[in-house]
């Protein structure tokens, strides 16, 4: 552009200023904007170079203005400004000229004159623009909600667990912990996998295998699990369970689990927590209900058992025991038999016990 200016500068000096001698231009309404400008320029006796030097535009831009070649010109805002300056130079009415049709009118109409938005490719970048920032916030909010929900659920479960723990702690100091099959493993090693659910659903132990004295032969004979022979195995029910888990794999594999389950009596171990000192074992020859309360009169065990069942309760301190059918129930404390007859009225035995044995 500076080249064109320097080349046109001498020309500009040869012509008198356009404002002084330009005649009032007769604008024909049907002419295009560029044609009007060109006509007025020719009437004023100016060359393209003159106009370019006066308006500080390049000659190519002046030609493009006169040919309405919008593609060769800057955005529409600037073109309108150039046209205004050009019209003022030629003393043309600016308003009429701005409303005149242009060859590129259709193109300029479809093309937005101006946008504040960055180009689409830039908009697609995640770091730019408020809209994407909003989306980011939305995503962050959703993630935060999900995390909050998960934490809430976990805390709820933790609270439930804590409640259980509190209950345990309430029971613990007074001596009784009631826990079914939690601290002691189920001797289900010998069972096929298919029977495992049954074993957990009906809490039974293969008491035959649990008798260390009888060992493998006893385990092989389903008959030893009959109610009559179950009693001698009772004193060490808990220790037995552990021993069974170790002994069973070697000693009892030949026994089909189904037959063992079908013929052996059910045995429920009310296992003690670690600190419990005393073990109370019940074995039943007939149906009987049993209720055990601790020193604060809280029921720590209450259940109806059937013939052949073996129950075990761990406790600490003093407890009171009520047995509904004392004649069909054998009771032993830490392995030593407890005579129920002195505490029995009709069929119900009521007695208080501590580590030393029955209390009057």
């Amino acid at each position: 552009m500076s080249d064109s200016e320097s080349s046109t500068a001498p020309l500009a000096e040869t012509h008198p200023p356009a404002e002084e001698e330009a005649p009032p231009a007769a604008v024909e309404p049907l002419l295009r904007r560029g044609q009007r400008l060109e006509q007025a320029r020719l009437q004023a006796g100016l060359t393209i170079a003159d106009v370019a030097s006066r308006l500080r535009l390049s000659q190519a831009q002046i030609e493009a203005l006169e040919q309405d070649d919008l593609a060769a010109l800057p955005p529409a805002t600037f073109v309108r400004g150039f046209v205004r300056n050009y019209a003022r130079l030629l003393k043309l009415p600016v308003e009429a000229l701005e409303q005149a049709p242009t060859a590129g009118a259709a193109a300029s109409a479809t093309q937005p004159a101006f946008t504040l938005q960055p180009p689409p490719s830039v908009d697609a970048l995640p770091l730019d623009g408020r809209a994407s920032a909003n989306r980011r916030w939305l995503g962050a909010a959703v993630v935060a909600l999900v995390i909050g929900a998960v934490i809430g659920v976990v805390r709820l479960e933790h609270l439930d667990g804590a409640r259980d723990l509190v209950a345990d702690q309430v029971k613990g100091p007074v001596g009784f912990v009631l826990d079914l099959f939690r601290s002691k493993p189920v001797p289900s090693v010998a069972m096929p996998a298919s029977t495992a659910p049954a074993a957990t659903a009906t809490p039974m132990t293969t008491s035959v295998a649990a008798d260390p004295g009888t060992g493998a032969p006893g385990a092989a004979d389903p008959g030893t699990g009959a109610p009559g022979t179950g009693a001698p195995a009772l004193p060490a029910a808990l220790a037995v369970a552990d021993a069974a888990s170790a002994a069973a794999p070697s000693a009892s594999p030949p026994v089909p689990a189904e037959t063992a389950l079908a013929n052996t009596p059910a045995s429920t171990t009310v296992a003690a927590s670690g600190e419990a000192g005393n073990v109370l074992d019940f074995s039943f020859e007939g149906d009987s209900w049993v209720e055990v309360r601790d020193s604060t009169n809280t029921v720590i065990y209450s259940r109806t058992s059937h013939a052949g069942d073996i129950q075990s309760v761990s406790f600490r301190g003093q407890i009171s025991v009520v047995i509904g059918n004392a004649r069909s129930t054998h009771l032993s404390l830490n392995g030593a038999d407890v005579m129920l007859a002195p505490h029995t009225k009709v069929t119900v035995a009521r007695l208080k016990l501590d580590a030393a044995g029955p209390r009057p």
Binding site: T77, F82, N85, L116, Q117, P118
Partner: protein
């Protein structure tokens, strides 16, 4: 307490809090207010008496220089920034209430306000606090060159340099903008007020006559010119003769006013040249092709574009409706404020 409710019933505003005029754009409606930034204060009962607002805007401007002792007409903005914090707050409150007419709840709009790019942090904070004090819920600041460029419909978001020269009442802002950001901006505290002042001083010096600001502004608008033209215009002016102390009439020509305006105009030209010197060469090439755009009331000074064209050798165009460019640009930013984040300036 009912802030969110009041906000719901308030219209978001863009305000061009100018030294000379305050313009307000309402979202979805356009420019609804264009009033001079003048407040007339009445003081009752002596110097320690109660102050009350007598008039704001056009009515107050008519009082400028014509007030009795107990009324003072004040222009709370000076050089583009707040000169009197309390009065500015009251003026804003008045304008906001005026455009939220017949509302039960007091308005609590979100407001975009233009600030000169050369304003200090303290000055920006003052403008923000003032708008908050006038009841705004949230205030965003936008620098004047950016607002002017958006208002002049320059392609601000494109990777192409655009230069805007906003000649306002108190300041002249020169900005080079590309990709939605300001590459270079400078602000000189020269504007319409300085032109008026220059005219007053010239007449006092050369004619021994004292004229008021309103008269000086009238002379500037009627026969003021920035470049010597073929046509010489004259105007009859009334003022007080300093020697006689009696009002007299005299005639002044456009060439004399051009001479009077030389100093402030040179400051503007200097700022534009400094901006061009500081502009990176690629953007400078864009500006050489497209030219610079003049906005603001000062752009209406006759042949200011011609002066800049001659001084810089670049094309210069005057924006359409240059007086409202800044507020239109702020309004445009307001309309798209949820999608735009980058055009607003921080404190």
């Amino acid at each position: 307490m009912f802030g969110f409710l009041r906000g719901y019933f308030s219209n978001d505003l863009a305000i061009d809090l100018g030294t000379a005029n305050t313009l307000i754009y309402v979202r979805g409606k356009g420019i609804v207010l264009d009033e001079p930034s003048v407040v007339a204060i009445r003081q009752d009962g002596g110097p320690s008496g109660k102050k009350s607002i007598q008039a704001v805007g056009l009515a107050a401007k008519q009082m400028l220089g014509r007030t009795p002792g107990n009324i003072s007409a004040i222009r709370p903005m000076k050089d583009g920034v707040i000169a009197d914090f309390t009065i500015t707050e009251q003026m804003l409150k008045y304008f906001i209430k005026k455009i939220h007419d017949s509302r039960m709840l007091s308005p609590s709009p979100r407001i975009i306000i233009c600030v000169p790019c050369g304003s200090t942090q303290v000055e920006r904070r003052a403008i923000k606090e003032s708008a908050l004090g006038a009841g705004a819920r949230q205030v965003f600041l936008i620098e004047e060159p950016m607002a002017a460029a958006i208002g002049a419909e320059l392609p601000v978001a494109e990777p192409s340099g655009s230069m805007v020269v906003d000649v306002g009442g108190g300041t002249t802002e020169v900005g080079v903008i590309s990709l939605g950001g300001i590459v270079y901006a400078s602000s000189v505290r020269v504007g319409g007020d300085k032109f008026d002042e220059a005219v007053i001083n010239y007449i006092r010096r050369n004619y021994g006559m004292l004229i008021g600001e309103a008269t000086a502004e009238q002379i500037k608008k009627q026969i003021g010119s920035a470049f010597p033209g073929s046509e010489v215009r004259e105007m009859e002016v009334k003022g007080r003769n300093l020697a006689e102390g009696i009002p007299r009439t005299f005639t002044i020509s456009s060439n004399e006013i051009l001479e009077a305006l030389t100093d402030p105009l040179n400051s503007i030209v200097g700022a534009v040249k400094a901006a061009l010197e500081q502009t990176p060469p690629e953007l400078g090439a864009d500006i050489a092709e497209k030219g610079m755009v003049l906005t603001g009331g000062g752009a209406l000074l006759r042949d200011l574009d011609r002066l800049l064209m001659e001084e810089t050798g670049l094309p210069v165009i005057v924006a359409e409706d240059p007086l409202t460019c800044v507020v239109r640009g702020s309004g445009r930013a307001l309309e798209e404020m949820d999608r735009l984040g980058t055009v607003f300036s921080s404190d």
